[in-house]
């Protein structure tokens, strides 16, 4: 065993200096408390109001109707998501490793049913029951064709109000406008959160629906929160946010992750590797020699080295 190791391991037998840990903590606590209080008083904290389905339906009805048609056509993000919500796809994979698929459907969400047809049972529009009956009586293929044709027509016209009425779309326009009225009257928000209990705490369904539309996405972009804007490590306004997630957000800004369809799982796996490296850093060759090679320690212990002529 080297002398160095002896010194590192042995209880320090050299000179000591008085060190009042409790006093240090109390002073630090008071100083940090005052600092936090001052910063809080000056800068406050962000509180951008939550977005509701009612707000979406009132401020962007065209986007709401287009998204509703997309839910019925099975073309939205939620409708095509896969686990844990449904089996519409396998989800992301890391080569042959398909953890998302293997984890299975644990939070069942059928967007067409959960976001559209079930809430429509509470519609007061007299045309909706017949439209629902026509929808439920049709084959899956027919349903998809109606909804896809209507989505395409909206896409071409740019707005559902400019789409000419046609039998081609079946009951979909009636259903979509019926849901729009439900949302505008503040009924839909409650319907999507109170299926289990009247005291909601699970916002999976309204949030998935909201995030399927362009309105919510636009609000995020305006607040510099998109993935290509360093995403969720930011906060609304000019607050620092979760800046400690920079190493996570960084990889979404660079290739090959930036354009990868499996970026989420690739970055997640890469971050897990980096975390392992962080935890076991003292065992990694070369990295664990850096403190010797780059002598910042001479600065930290400069008084000790000076006093001992080292």
């Amino acid at each position: 065993m080297s002398k160095e190791r002896n010194v590192d391991l042995a209880k320090w037998s050299g000179p000591k200096r008085p060190y009042d840990l409790v006093k240090e903590f109390v002073i630090a606590f008071v100083v940090v408390g005052l600092l936090v209080g001052a910063i809080s008083a000056i800068f406050s904290s962000p509180d951008e109001p939550a977005v509701t389905l009612q707000q979406w339906a009132n401020q962007a009805p065209a986007d709401f109707v287009a998204t509703t048609a997309g839910e019925l056509a099975g073309t939205t993000i939620s409708a095509a998501y896969g686990p844990p919500y449904n089996t519409a796809s396998e989800g992301l994979n890391l080569g042959p490793i398909k953890i998302q698929k293997w984890a299975g459907v644990t939070i069942p969400v059928n967007p067409a049913v959960d976001f559209v047809t079930t809430p429509l049972k509470f519609s007061k529009d007299p045309a909706v029951p017949a439209a629902l009956a026509q929808w439920n009586g049709a084959s899956s293929g027919q349903q998809t064709k109606w909804a896809t044709d209507y989505s395409t027509a909206i896409g071409k016209a740019g707005d559902y109000t400019k789409v000419t009425a046609s039998q081609t779309y079946g009951p979909v326009p009636t259903m979509a406008s019926g849901l729009l009225v439900l949302a505008q009257s503040d009924v839909l928000d409650g319907l999507l959160t109170t299926t289990v209990t009247p005291y909601p705490s699970d916002f999976t369904k309204p949030m998935l629906f909201l995030a399927d539309g362009g309105y919510f996405d636009d609000l995020g972009a305006k607040q510099h929160l998109h993935g290509d804007q360093w995403g969720m490590m930011n906060e609304t306004g000019s607050y620092p946010g979760q800046s400690w997630l920079w190493l996570f957000s960084l990889w979404y800004q660079v290739e090959p992750f930036k354009s990868s369809a499996n970026a989420d799982i690739q970055i997640f796996a890469f971050l897990m590797l980096l975390n392992l490296g962080f935890i076991f850093m003292p065992k990694i060759p070369f990295i664990n020699r850096l403190p010797r090679l780059i002598p910042f320690h001479r600065l930290i212990w400069r008084r000790y080295y000076r006093e001992n002529n080292l």
Partner: protein, 205 residues
């Protein structure tokens, strides 16, 4: 007597420490740098996080949206978290450049690393339970990464009730446990000596 579980537990814990080791009133002469302050600054900001969080907890999840006092307490919670991470990262870098894992202190480094990771998870769940646009955005963005790794199957970022319970109960318990463990290891093993102190070994000053 020695077969008693109580005896074994006492020997494995309490008897490992001298009172002087638990609350020492002196330190080796080399413990003389501002870098050492960042450990206690991290603990201080952690204490303010807990205190401000407890006030928010007692008044309910949405109190701070409708009360000026509540908003101020929320701001204190936010900024103490921001400072906590700043202090912790400086402390971490300091320990890296001191190669503070030397001399059977690897476990101290590992518990410190887990403190950082558990803090990230706890902070993340805090951002999910603000009941505002930030929560909505972060929850919808983060779900994809967690779902892709299968974690979304048992931790749903869009289930605010689940996130709030994790944030105010389980994760603080886990983090506090790791922090205490980390501090105990620091006290048991002492502060790492300077690099190259070997040159004066046999008469370590």
């Amino acid at each position: 007597m020695s077969s008693m579980w109580t005896t074994k537990l006492r020997k494995a814990t309490v008897e490992k420490f001298e009172p002087q080791d638990v609350l020492p009133d002196d330190q080796p002469s080399y413990v003389a740098s501002w870098i050492y302050v960042f450990g206690v600054l991290t603990l201080s900001s952690f204490a303010i996080i807990i205190l401000s969080g407890l006030i928010l907890t007692t008044r309910g999840a949405i109190w701070w949206h409708s009360s000026n006092v509540g908003h101020f307490v929320n701001s204190m919670h936010l900024w103490s978290v921001e400072l906590f991470f700043v202090f912790m990262v400086v402390h971490l870098w300091g320990k890296f450049w001191m190669a503070a894992w030397r001399g059977r202190r690897f476990a101290t480094w590992v518990t410190g690393a887990f403190c950082f990771l558990a803090s990230v998870a706890t902070g993340f769940t805090g951002y999910l339970i603000q009941w505002d646009f930030d929560s909505q955005w972060i929850a919808t963005q983060a779900k994809d990464g967690l779902n892709s790794a299968g974690i979304g199957s048992f931790f749903n970022t869009l289930n605010t009730g689940q996130a709030i319970l994790l944030h105010v109960s389980l994760l603080p318990l886990v983090l506090t446990f790791i922090v205490i463990w980390h501090v105990i290891l620091v006290r048991r093993n002492g502060v790492v000596p300077p690099l190259d102190a070997k040159e004066i070994a046999g008469g370590a000053k």
